[in-house]
């Protein structure tokens, strides 16, 4: 998967997850906390973890 596509998919997934969390939580002032979640930074974390997992399972195992 190209790097830019991985960024788009992970960014979209993290934003959608926090937005869903904001939808289901009540009251709305509490749900609003998740509107300021560090989603871009978290997408970076998930990406680095995914890259490491991919490296360990596909290259080191071979």
């Amino acid at each position: 998967m190209p790097d830019w596509l991985l960024r788009v998919v992970l960014g979209g997934a993290v934003v959608s997850t926090f937005a869903l969390l904001g939808d289901v939580l009540k009251p709305k002032s509490f749900a609003g906390l998740f509107g300021a979640a560090p989603c871009v930074a978290l997408a970076t974390l998930v990406r680095s973890r995914a890259a490491r997992w991919f490296w360990v399972h596909h290259f080191q195992a071979a």
Partner: protein, 142 residues
């Protein structure tokens, strides 16, 4: 009001609204990456704190509320309450950024990001509880 979970709220959003959020989040992540690659980490870092969730959520929230009860005022009030929550979440984001700034040169990325995320959540929740208690005290005294 106590914190509660209402799973039925997920079904209020239409499928294309979820796709819009996903595309918006993906686009922001891509743009942040391009800016960081082109202009360096100092400028790119500004976009790590981009409010990617809030604009998508606030517009949909306002739309859903105006469908429930016609009239713009109530819908905007609810979106405003959501914004108040986001401002308290931003207090947590400051702590998040300080931990990343101080910790990244000494510790591994995944460890620092995980710790900073937990700190963000705790500080944001503490800010929310503090505001709630202050509002109660102010109401009681006036």
């Amino acid at each position: 009001m106590k914190v509660a979970v209402n799973i039925a709220a997920v079904y209020r959003s239409k499928w294309y609204e979820h796709i819009i959020r996903f595309a918006f989040g993906g686009a922001i992540r891509l743009v942040a990456g391009i800016i960081a690659n082109h202009y360096g980490p100092e400028i790119g870092g500004l976009f790590l704190a981009f409010p990617a969730i809030f604009p998508a959520t606030a517009t949909l929230l306002e739309k859903h509320e105006s469908q429930k009860e016609p009239g713009k005022l109530r819908a905007r009030q609810v979106a405003g309450i959501d914004a108040a929550g986001a401002s308290m979440g931003s207090v947590g984001l400051i702590v998040f950024a300080i931990l990343i700034w101080q910790g990244l040169s000494r510790y591994p990325l995944s460890g620092v990001l995980s710790l900073a995320t937990i700190a963000w959540l705790l500080v944001a929740m503490m800010a929310w509880w503090t505001r709630k208690i202050l509002v109660k005290i102010l109401r009681f005294t006036t």
